[in-house]
Amino acid sequence: MRNPGLPGWEPGPKRDAASGGPGGGAGRGPRSGMHRRGVGAGAIAKKKLAEAKYKERGTVLAEDQLTQMSKQLDMFKTNLEEFASKHKQEIRKNPEFRVQFQDMCATIGVDPLASGKGFWSEMLGVGDFYYELGVQVIEVCLALKHRNGGLITLEELHQQVLKGRGKFAQDVSQDDLLRAIKKLKALGSGFGIIPVGGTYLIQSVPAELNMDHTVVLQLAEKNGYVTVSEIRASLKWETERARQVLEHLLKEGLAWLDLQAVGEAHYWLPALFADLYSQEITAEEASEALP
């Protein structure tokens, strides 16, 4: 495809084959027809030519760089293939190596999990591992949502996912789960990760949880419940602020109200009930989960 900006293709009187066209004998620069024009027209024509040349250089530069990138990409693909042939198993079997791999990618600004069509995914197989894990996380969260309102500890999620994967599947670490969950955020259904007391709560519903809610969840992590007095004492909040946060958690189904507790009302977080950890997902819950 010819670029009209290339020298030798100045719009104007047609030339015969002998003298015209790029690479033609006539060379570059103002054409023979130019001297017939007035001074003003000549200056404009010169400017047009200069612009055309500038554009041409710009296009060629991007073209060059894209070609260069294409070549380097091919080389990189080869390097990655080599790496994969030697170490693919290592990534598959060694969760610590996976962590190192992910961290290094993040450092240089590369997301190996962005697309299943990416080199990393295709050649190292990291994609399928995490995307499938994503499906399993979604299913577990859906199945247990009616119990915990859409909030679950990373530990419980880990246990349930392992159970669902069966005996012969590859083992997964908590770090693997976190990375899979981070990717799920893109789907818009409210997946989130909330740090609490050294571990994490995984949110799987689009409930709005701001800093206040998060801080109260962190406070509740110790005992599985929290009270207004505790909030006032630890966080130095006014009663009204504490009440609002607790009410929001109740409304979202993340907390249960216990009015029969000794002293004052207890707000329990089902997500934090240790007793529920080992409970099986019932057949009914599982059928809720599958689309």
């Binding site: 991007a62 791999f101 590369v110 190996p112 069509k117 994503g134 990717k183 893109a186 259904s189």
Partner: protein
């Protein structure tokens, strides 16, 4: 049944294989003479193997390694029923067999370390090359910005597909297709084919998480990343396919059949709610046979359109027909 941690010399992992479960091999010091009675009085082996039939070995190994590093038993008072064995100390008398084993283990560990460090070294070299790609893409992106759109559509498409291969975020967004590439266009067309029937079965609407699970379960391998799915769905309308992506105020994303009119569904939702007097999202979902997520979105939309109003209490969010509108 218990063995004191102080009895442990070294632990190593054995990966699972076909027909065998993952194991952790725990090499032990010789039993002290006053050991508690147990399943066996003695053994010719100086190690035990812990078998993990259904996972858990990664976390167990991690915690056990931590304990072996911290060696908390060395700080505990001596008056314990289990005898404590301090770690390797000069001059301690060992059985000959143990020394040989320890040496072999040490060699094996060095070998494993070497394998891991080789992998790590290769990885580092690879990352250096990857970083060069990132730098090059930044330079091209800058050129594109400078030229303010004097780059052809073809070049843009090429560039985007390069970025996709490397997993580099696209710094230059084009209005027409966003972060989408040829790949996503093809994917969008595929999705239109795959999702037609499931959508019809589900009343014309599905959440993106449902779609993600459905599609990937069907594929089995070469799965889609969440971003692949979103980018493909963003192109559905542009490509004039019979499905579209819709984002609710809450951020929830759904795929609808073009023929699906959520606003019309709202009218029937109002009828249902009126019949029952009031309904929560869960109740409505059960009645209509929808997921709670989508049921809630429908009720919220009905509320937004003025047909329903809410009673938001600690007992939950309940929707009522909006009598303010109908009975003025």
């Amino acid at each position: 049944m218990a063995i004191p941690l102080s009895q442990i010399v070294f632990i190593e992992e054995q990966a699972a294989g076909i027909g065998k479960s993952a194991k952790i091999v725990v090499h032990l010091h010789p039993a002290p003479p006053n050991k508690e009675p147990g399943p066996f009085q003695s053994s010719k082996n100086s190690y035990i193997k812990l078998s993990f039939k259904e996972h858990g070995q990664i976390e167990f190994y991690r915690r056990l390694s931590e304990e072996m590093t911290q060696r908390r038993w060395e700080n505990m008072p001596v008056s314990q029923s289990l005898q404590t064995n301090r770690g390797p100390q000069p001059g301690r008398v060992r059985a000959v067999g143990i020394v040989g084993i320890e040496r072999k283990l040490e060699e094996k560990r060095k070998e494993t370390d070497k394998n891991i460090s080789e992998a790590f070294e290769d990885l580092s070299k690879l990352m250096i090359k990857a970083k060069e790609m990132v730098e090059l893409s930044k330079s091209i992106a800058n050129k594109i910005k400078e030229k303010q759109g004097d780059i052809t559509e073809d070049e843009t498409i090429r560039f985007k597909s390069y970025l996709l291969s490397m997993g580099i975020a696209n710094p230059v967004t084009r209005e027409t297709y966003g972060s989408g590439t040829q790949y996503h266009m093809q994917l969008a067309k595929q999705l239109a084919g795959i999702l037609q029937a499931p959508l019809e079965e589900r009343g014309g609407i599905m959440s993106l998480t449902e779609v993600y699970c459905l599609v990937n379960r069907a594929r089995g391998m070469e799965l889609l990343s969440p971003e692949d799915l979103v980018n493909a769905c963003k192109m559905l309308e542009v490509l004039k396919l019979p499905l579209r992506l819709r984002v609710f105020d809450s951020g929830v994303m759904v795929i609808e059949l073009q023929s699906h009119k959520e606003e019309e569904m709202v009218a029937s939702a109002l009828e249902t709610v009126s019949e029952k007097g009031s309904l929560t999202s869960e109740e409505f979902a059960k009645l209509v046979g929808m997921s709670v997520l989508l049921a809630k979105e429908r009720l919220l939309l009905a509320e937004k359109m003025g047909h329903l109003c809410r009673d938001d209490s600690v007992e939950g969010l309940r929707f009522y027909p909006n009598l303010f509108m109908t009975q003025s």
